[in-house]
């Protein structure tokens, strides 16, 4: 899933103060799972904004709406009747959701309420871990399903580096060494032999470094 966090209210206020009416739109998928932009956070942010304006003796119209996915037109269409009544949309979707809203409601200002961070998993309640960089050529099969691109701070394909100490990364001891995780996991699986093969450097042309990517499937098109 996409992991994000809510922006500070001051930054949001700076972006929306110019509008008399704002539609606050949550996204009940990835960003709901990471407690940043789902129905709860939409209610929280809309209420916090109302209180913040109230304190400043201002009274813009703040309306709440939540859709299941802000990155799919069928869901985006569900707010079509509310959009014209507002000057702007404050989106609690990820960056993709914000841009999809802007494409569909092309005459409306769309403001992000979140900082989109990474592709990750819910590791335990209230903890989200980055574990994929969307490199476009997944090699997890060679590394015991621990990603060296996302979990090793240096993105080493033939690690570990000399700085791995006690299972911690030299870049920051808070970070578990990705290569320590890879080796432990392969060892547990009895597949350490996978590491005897040299892995060539990552071909970044399949990643975002090759420019914005697109997947087109004719069989899925109308």
């Amino acid at each position: 899933m996409i992991v994000a966090t809510l922006k500070e209210i001051d930054e949001i206020r700076k972006m929306i103060d110019r509008y008399d009416s704002v539609l606050v739109v949550g996204c009940d998928s990835c960003v709901a799972e990471c407690a940043a932009g789902g129905a709860r956070e939409t209610m929280l942010l809309a209420s916090a904004l109302k209180l913040s304006y109230l304190k400043d003796h201002m009274n813009p119209t703040i309306t709440e709406a939540v859709i299941d996915r802000q990155c799919v037109d069928d869901f985006i269409d569900q707010i079509a009747d509310q959009v014209p009544e507002h000057d702007a949309i404050l989106s609690l979707g990820c960056g993709a959701g914000v841009q999809a809203l802007a494409r569909v409601y092309s005459d409306k200002a769309i403001i992000p309420a979140l900082n989109t961070l990474f592709i990750g998993e819910t590791q335990s309640r209230g903890v989200w871990q980055e574990n994929c960089l969307g490199c476009g050529s997944c090699k997890l099969g060679y590394f015991g399903a621990v990603c060296p691109v996302a979990r090793c701070s240096k993105k080493l394909m033939n690690g570990p580096c000399g700085g791995s100490k006690g299972g911690r990364c030299e870049v920051n001891p808070e970070i578990p060494c990705g290569w320590d995780l890879i080796i432990r996991r392969l060892n547990a699986l009895g597949e350490l032999d996978r590491l005897t093969e040299y892995v060539p450097p990552v071909d970044w042309s399949t990643s975002h470094s090759g420019g914005p990517r697109k997947v087109v499937r004719e069989d899925q098109q109308p």
């Binding site: 209210i9 916090a48 209180l51």
Partner: protein
């Protein structure tokens, strides 16, 4: 104008058994401006409920919970405390006194403790500058 009662909302855990059937309404009549909301467990309350209650015009909100050990859902009372703390953080972020929001554990069925607490909370809220009312819904 001066007589307008201060709007206070109290969310209380049902397991505190503060009221028998029908008693809550009668109790609230003695406290103008007070709304008591019974909830299945204090852990059911989350920060967005509390902020929405404040944005809806409450001048103060109290969450009453059982002691941690007495919580029938084991983690409800401790979770609730964290959520109230989180909501208080948000009040601070928007520049509103976090004192308007409080979490208190009281003994079950203790109406005297409840009344003392309400008196204290009300006088604390009255000492703060009133929040402006919302003109538009």
């Amino acid at each position: 104008m001066e007589d307008t009662p201060v709007k206070i909302v109290v969310y209380h855990c049902r397991n505190l058994r503060l009221f028998k059937d029908g008693e809550q309404k009668i109790f609230c009549r003695q406290w103008p401006g007070l709304t008591m909301v019974s909830i299945p467990c204090s852990g059911k309350i989350e920060a967005h409920h509390l902020l929405k209650t404040m944005a809806g015009g409450a001048q103060g909100v109290l969450v009453l919970a059982c002691s941690e050990k007495a919580c029938q859902y084991l983690e409800g009372s401790s979770r609730s405390r964290k959520r109230v703390d989180y909501a208080r953080l948000w009040l601070e972020k928007v520049g509103i006194s976090a004192e308007r929001l409080d979490f208190v554990r009281i003994p079950p069925m203790d109406r005297v403790a409840l009344e003392n607490l309400l008196r204290e909370f009300l006088s604390k809220i009255q000492s703060l500058e009133a929040l402006p009312a919302i003109a538009k819904a």
